[in-house]
Symmetry: C2
Subunit: 323 residues, 2 copies
C-alpha cells in the first residue's frame, strides 16, 4: 500500500507515519490487512523521518504538480492533516478558505480520478461546534462553528460525505479534540497554549495562559489521537451510519486542572512558571469550543480517550527525556 499523509512534516503527521510503520500493515478496500510499502509525507517543509519506506514531498497542496507527484503510481489511503490553523484562519479569511477548503477539494478530486475509492481520513476538529450547546454533546449535535477554521472543517466534512456517498472515495471525518502536549514551538492555533503551559515550564521557560483557569477543554494526547486516526482508517465502511463524521473521545479538563497535574508531576517551581493573562482574541475562539462529548460512535469504532491529564503530562516528560 501507498499511504499519503498531508501535513506529513508536522508533529502529528510524522508521529502517525511512525505508528503506521510500526504496525507494518493497514486495511485495504477489501478490509484485509496489506503491507505498507510506501508512505509519502506531503507538506510545505521537508519531513525528517529517516526510513526507506518514507519519502518527503515539499510543496503547496493546491499545486497540481505536487498532487501529480503524490498520486504517481496510485494512492491507497490518504490521511489529510494539512490545514491553516484556527488563529491564522480567523486572521486571514482568504488563506483559510483557499487551503482548508479549496486545496482539500483538489485533493479529493485526485482521489476520485483513478476510480479506486481510497480510504480518506480527514482530520476535522471539535471547533466544528459553537454557540449554545448542551453540557455533553451527542453524536448528532448540529455543528454551528464560531470561527472560520471550524466552518471550513465542517465544509470539508460535507465534501467527504458527498464524495463518499458517490463512491469516489471511502471517507472518515474525525473531529479531533485539542491535542496536547505538542513538542516544539507555539503555533498560530488558538489552542496553542494548551501545549505551551506544560511544555514551556518543563523547559524552564515562563508560559502565559491566555484563558481563565476555569476554562474547560476537550483534550487528547498525541499518542491517543494517532491511535484513533488509525482506528478511523481501519474501521470497515459498514461500521459507519448515515454520516462519516465522528466526534473523537477525549478528556474534559479545566486549564487549572492541567496546571495542577503539571504541579503534581513536576513540582511547584515548574508549575509556577505559568502566569495568567487573558487574551480576548484567543478567548473569542477557544470559549466557543465544547468541552465534553458522548463520542458513542467513536467508542463503537474502538477509539479511546486518555486516562487523565496527569498521565498525558507523564508521557510527555518520558518522551522528552528520550528525545
Amino acid at each position: 500500500m501507498h499511504i499519503l499523509v498531508t501535513g506529513g512534516a508536522g508533529f502529528l503527521g510524522r508521529r502517525l507515519a511512525r505508528a503506521i510503520l510500526a504496525r507494518g500493515t493497514l486495511a485495504g478496500p477489501d478490509d484485509r490487512q496489506h503491507p505498507v510499502a510506501r508512505i509519502t509525507l506531503a507538506d510545505v517543509v521537508a519531513a525528517d523521518l529517516p526510513d526507506p519506506r518514507v519519502s518527503s514531498l515539499v510543496g503547496d497542496l493546491a499545486d497540481p504538480a505536487l498532487l501529480d507527484r503524490a498520486f504517481a503510481g496510485g494512492v491507497d489511503s490518504v490521511f489529510h492533516l494539512a490545514a491553516v490553523v484556527s488563529g491564522e484562519a480567523e486572521a486571514n479569511f482568504d488563506l483559510g478558505w483557499r487551503v482548508n477548503v479549496d486545496a482539500m477539494r483538489a485533493l479529493l478530486e485526485r482521489c476520485r480520478a483513478p476510480g479506486t475509492s481510497p480510504r480518506f481520513v480527514f482530520a476535522s476538529s471539535c471547533a466544528a461546534f459553537g454557540g449554545p450547546l448542551p453540557a455533553r454533546l451527542p453524536d448528532d449535535q448540529m455543528p454551528v462553528p464560531q470561527s472560520s477554521y471550524g466552518t471550513q472543517k465542517v465544509v470539508g466534512e460535507y465534501l467527504v460525505h458527498d464524495y463518499t456517498r458517490k463512491g469516489f472515495l471511502d471517507g472518515r471525518s474525525l473531529r479531533l479534540p485539542t491535542v496536547t502536549v505538542r513538542p516544539g514551538k507555539p503555533n498560530k492555533a488558538a489552542s496553542s497554549f494548551a501545549s505551551g503551559i506544560v511544555r514551556e515550564p518543563l523547559a524552564g521557560v515562563e508560559s502565559v495562559c491566555p484563558v481563565a483557569p476555569e476554562t474547560k477543554m476537550w483534550l487528547t494526547s498525541p499518542a491517543t489521537v494517532v491511535d484513533n486516526l488509525i482506528a478511523g482508517h481501519e474501521a470497515p465502511a459498514s461500521a459507519f451510519g448515515h454520516t462519516r463524521s465522528v466526534n473523537l473521545p477525549g478528556i474534559s479538563v479545566t486549564v487549572r486542572q492541567m496546571v495542577d497535574a503539571l504541579r503534581r508531576v513536576a513540582g511547584d517551581a515548574v508549575a509556577d512558571r505559568v502566569t495568567w493573562k487573558r487574551d480576548p482574541a484567543i478567548e473569542r475562539i477557544v470559549l466557543t469550543w465544547p468541552a465534553d462529548f458522548e463520542a458513542k460512535l467513536a467508542r463503537a469504532l474502538g477509539m479511546r480517550a486518555d486516562a487523565d491529564f496527569e498521565s498525558i503530562v507523564r508521557a510527555y516528560v518520558a518522551e522528552s527525556v528520550r528525545r
Copy 2:
C-alpha cells in the same frame, strides 16, 4: 435600493420581483424601509418582466463580467435563487458543485468587496436533510443530506454563516419546502412531479407520479414561499440566534392527499389523468427528504404555511385562468 435576484428569470424569481415591486420598499441595513429603485434579474435566460424598475441580465453567474455588471453602482440586497436542481446535480456532480457552491462563493465575494454588508437571502432547501430522522424535525436537526444538491445547499449555508459572522454581509439561509404548483414545464428537479401531477391533469395531459401514493412531502405554495422569502429579508439581524439557517414552514401532505385534493377541486376526469409508476432514481432522492418540521424560528420571524393542499390547488387554478 438596488435588489439583485439570481435565478431571476425563473418562476420564483419573477414572482418574487413582482411581490417586491408591489410592496415598493424593503428593509435596509438600518432596518428601515427604503424605496426599491431597481431590481436586476440575473439568469442564464432573459427575464420577461416589463417594468421600468426591472432589468434583465443574461449570463453565467460564475462569469466575473456578469457579476461586474450586476454589482455596478452597488447592490443593497441579494436574493440568491439560482441553482442546478436536485436531479441534475445528482446526475452531474461537477456541474452541481461548480454552480451551487463555486458560483455562489463568487457571488458572496462580490457582496463582501464593497464593505456594505448587504442582506443576502439564500434559497436553501429541505433537501439539506436525510438519513434517519425524527417524525418532526426540530430547528437544530443536524443536516445529513443524501444528495449532492442537498450537500451543496448545506455548504452554501455554512458559507453564508461565516460571511455573516465576519460581517461581510447579513445572510439568511432559508430552507425551502417543495414548491408546488409551479406553472410551465417539468424540470430536472427530483420533485418536479409534485407540480406535474396537478398542472398536467388540469391542462388535459396525463401525468405519471414516480413515487408511491403514501410518500409524504413538505410543501409550500409559490405565493407563500415568496412571502416567506421577503419575511426572511425583512427580519432584523437581531431576530436570529447563533445560526442563520431557517427551516421554512410548510404543510405535510402525502401524494395521495395531493391527488385527492385535485379530485375535489377539478373532478374525477382530471384527477384520473394521474397514473402511478415508481421511478427508483427519483425515489432515491425524494424519499430521503423529511416531510414535517417544527419551524419554530421561522414562525417567530413571521413566516407562515398554507392552510392545506386544496387551497394551493384552488389558487393555482385561479391564477391559471388569469394567465
